[in-house]
C-alpha cells in the first residue's frame, strides 16, 4: 500500500488527511497520478485547478520515478509560509 497525504486547502477539499491505495509493481509516479485521478475525480480537479506539488517520501521527484509499497506521497498547493 502507498499512502497519500493532503495538506492545507487540499486536505479540506478532499475531507481527509490521508488515504491508502494499493500500487502494482513498477508503477511510475506519472502512471500512479493518472490512476488516482480516474479513481478520485475530486483529486483530478484539484490538480488541474491548482499548481499542485507532488512529493514522494518528502522529496520533489521526477514523474518517471517508480513508486513502491510503503512510499508516502503528498499532494499540496503552493506553499505560503513565512
Amino acid at each position: 500500500m502507498v499512502s497519500i497525504r493532503f495538506f492545507a486547502g487540499f486536505r479540506e477539499k478532499i475531507g481527509a488527511e490521508k488515504i491508502e491505495v494499493s500500487v502494482p509493481d513498477e508503477t511510475t509516479l506519472a502512471d500512479f497520478i493518472t490512476r488516482l485521478e480516474s479513481d478520485y475525480p475530486e483529486i483530478s480537479a484539484l490538480i488541474e485547478k491548482n499548481k499542485a506539488t507532488i512529493a514522494v517520501n518528502h522529496e520533489i521527484v521526477d514523474m518517471d520515478q517508480t513508486i513502491s509499497d510503503g512510499d508516502e506521497i503528498a499532494l499540496f498547493p503552493p506553499v505560503s509560509g513565512g
Binding site: 492545507a8 506553499v79 505560503s80 513565512g82
Partner: protein, 139 residues
C-alpha cells in the same frame, strides 16, 4: 538550529545560540516575520493559522540552512517557524545569521527567508470577518 514549533520563541536566546558557534562572528543579522492584522487582498485579519508537513518541512529547512552555509561566507544560521494559530502581532518566523562580516550575513538572511517562502511546505490561512482563506488560494 532548525525548528518548526507551536510555541513562541525568544529572539535573544536564538541570537545567543548563533553567537555561541564561534567568537569569529562579528555581525549577526535577524529577520523576524510577524502576523499582520491587515492584508491588501482580504482586509482585516484577526488571526493566522499555519499548517506544515511534519518531517518534510524540517528536512527542507535543514537543507536550506546547509545551502546557505555553503553558498555564503557565514558561520552559523538558525531558522524557527511556528505553526498553529497565531494572533495578529505575534511572531511567525525568525532567521538569525552570524558571519565574520555584515554583508554576508545580510545576503544569507535574505536568501533564507526568500527561499523559505518558495519551497518549505508550510501553509498560511487568514481568518477574516468574511471567513477563512488559505493564502495559496489567492488568484
Amino acid at each position: 538550529m532548525i525548528s518548526v514549533q507551536r510555541e513562541d520563541f525568544t529572539i535573544e536566546e536564538q541570537i545567543e545560540k548563533v553567537k555561541a558557534a564561534s567568537k569569529r562572528i562579528g555581525g549577526v543579522v535577524t529577520f523576524l516575520g510577524t502576523a499582520r492584522d491587515f492584508t491588501e487582498e482580504t482586509g482585516d485579519v484577526s488571526k493566522l493559522e499555519f499548517e506544515h508537513y511534519p518531517g518534510m518541512a524540517e528536512k527542507k529547512l535543514g537543507a536550506l540552512r546547509a545551502t546557505a552555509l555553503e553558498k555564503f561566507d557565514i558561520i552559523e544560521a538558525s531558522i524557527i517557524h511556528r505553526y498553529g494559530e497565531i494572533a495578529a502581532g505575534e511572531n511567525i518566523v525568525l532567521i538569525v545569521v552570524g558571519a565574520m562580516h555584515r554583508a554576508d550575513a545580510f545576503t544569507a538572511c535574505r536568501f533564507l527567508i526568500d527561499e523559505l517562502k518558495q519551497i518549505v511546505p508550510i501553509w498560511k490561512k487568514e481568518h477574516t470577518k468574511s471567513g477563512e482563506v488559505w493564502v495559496s488560494d489567492h488568484p
